[in-house]
Every structure is written in C-alpha cells, then in structure tokens.
Symmetry: C2
Subunit: 171 residues, 2 copies
C-alpha cells in the first residue's frame, strides 16, 4: 500500500507520465487488480494519497492562539494548493466525489471526516485554552470553501488572514 | 451550435447514455471534428452548456431589494445544483478548468467573466436604488464558494439566507 502511494506520487511529479491505475501498479510492482479492488478508481486512489499527505502534517502547528493556528493552517493549505502536485490532488479529490446527488454519500462522508479530523487538533487546543471554538460548517464555508474553489476556478488566491478574521468575527 | 447544446442536454438527461463528443455529434447530426474544433474537450462543451443555461435566467428576478435579489438568486442556484443535471454540469465545469496552476488562465477567466456578468444585473439594480454593492470577490467567497463546494463534496446544502445575510453584514 505504501508502495502504491509512493508510485502515484512519483508519477504525479513527472509531467510526462500518465497517472493511470495500470501505470501506478506497474511502477509499484503490484497487480493492478489489487489496486482496483482497494481503491476502485484512479480518482479514489489519488484522493486517498492526497488526504494521507494532509494527515502527515497533522496535528497542525501550535502557535498559542486559535487565530494563529487557523492562519498557519490556511497558509499552509494555500502553499500546498499552489504547487502542481497540490493542484493535481485537489482535482483528483473533487473528481473522486459523487457525481450524482444520490450517489455514494458514504464514501464522500468518509473523505470529509478525514479532513475534519485534521482540524480537530486545532479546535481541541482552542477549547483547552478556553477560547470560543467555531462550528466546523463555518470553517468549511468561510475559510476552506473559498480557498479550494478559487484554485478549482483558476482565480487568484484569497488572503488566508482575511478569511480567518471573517470566521472569528462571525463565530 | 444550438443542436449540439440540445444533444448534450438530452444525453445528460438519459441515465443510460454516455456523454462523449462523438455521441453528442452523432445525436446532433454534425461532424465530431467541428465539435472538437469549437469546444476542444467534452468538459469544455459541457461547461459552455452549463453557463448558457445560467445565462438563460439572466438578469435574475427583481424582488425590490439587494437582499431579496441575492436570496432569490442563491436559492435558484441551490435548486439547480440539487438536480442530477445541475450536479453533472458543476462537475463538468470544474473538470473543464485548468488542472495546473500555470495553465490556461485565459480560458478560465472567460468562464468566470460569464458567471460574474450574470450577477451584474443584481448589482446594477442595487446601485440604482442607492444600496451598498458588495465586492464581487466577497460574493464569490461568502455565497458562491460554500454552495458550490458543498455540492462537489456531497455535503448537505447550506442555507442561502444565512450566506446572503453574512455577505451583507460584512460588505
């Protein structure tokens, strides 16, 4: 499994390479059938690789305040999304999500739960300091949604400090 | 061109149909080469169909106030995104956007400009009434981004009234 993740990362970093399940399996030295069985689709595999990368930096850095922690987290998300690899991952993540309203809410909520878990380290520390903790939906709507949608749209990135201050003002 | 749009819509509405450029061209009775030449990719074609649908309802309904106009616009976006067709279009639109940070900012900004133009009817009326007009980036970040990203993520939809009131409070 680590070999498959590693192979996917290496292919994503090679601008000339096609990132398909057969190509990833070949590079990892495993049978493509076992990759299909575990991840289902190319997008499912890349989404798993992407979230595993996010989890690697979890819990996020402790700056001593909720505002500082959120700004550091949002700034590192912006930096990550600005690289070709981060960008490819976001497209893969979105491409792996259900394409009809009815479909596959369970798979989607599993991915979302993993992303929310990454932020929980920040909120747990804020609660321990006695700070007011914002609702996860507000973090999603006010900070995460503009950062992600601006990348998907190819628009210039928002200022993470403005987004975090907006969240704390409303929270 | 209208025949190609119509054929794409009909195929998208048929759950058993594959929506490819050759299939759309066949149904429209045109040469696939001319479809490739004009739209480039399947995603480019579907994005054009999606935005043309949005433009159809433009300018948005006049309720007599900026708040009412924005709520009506956001509610109709939520309804549209909740249908299988609206959902398929959003995925196609995102799939048509550049997949590397460097790529194709011009094509992306053309799509964005068409979306912004739809909202301008609302802002022009607000300005004529003497109401304070929010910045387009704030409308994008505070209202549009959560609505669209929640659909892409398969999360339950946000309340458009909450988002619009948040925008007006901050604007």
């Amino acid at each position: 499994m680590a070999a498959v993740h590693q192979a996917a990362l290496e292919l994503l970093e090679d601008p000339g390479a096609e990132v398909t399940i057969p190509a990833v399996a070949r590079r990892a030295g495993v049978n493509p059938v076992s990759v299909y069985r575990r991840w289902g689709t190319r997008e499912g595999l890349l989404a798993d690789v992407a979230i595993t990368r996010l989890e690697r930096d979890s819990p996020p850095v402790d700056t001593g305040s909720l505002r500082g922690d959120l700004i550091a987290w949002a700034q590192s998300a912006v930096e990550d999304l600005g690289t070709p690899l981060g960008h490819a991952f976001l497209h893969a993540l979105v491409g792996s999500l259900p394409t009809t309203p009815e479909a596959d809410a369970e798979r989607s909520s599993h991915l979302l739960r993993r992303i929310v878990t990454i932020q929980e380290g920040i909120f747990d520390r804020a609660a321990a300091r006695g700070e007011h903790v914002p609702a996860p939906e507000d973090v999603f709507d006010i900070v995460l949604a503009p950062l992600y949608l601006r990348v998907l749209w190819g628009a210039p990135q928002a200022d993470p400090v403005v987004l975090v201050d907006r969240l704390l003002k409303l929270g």
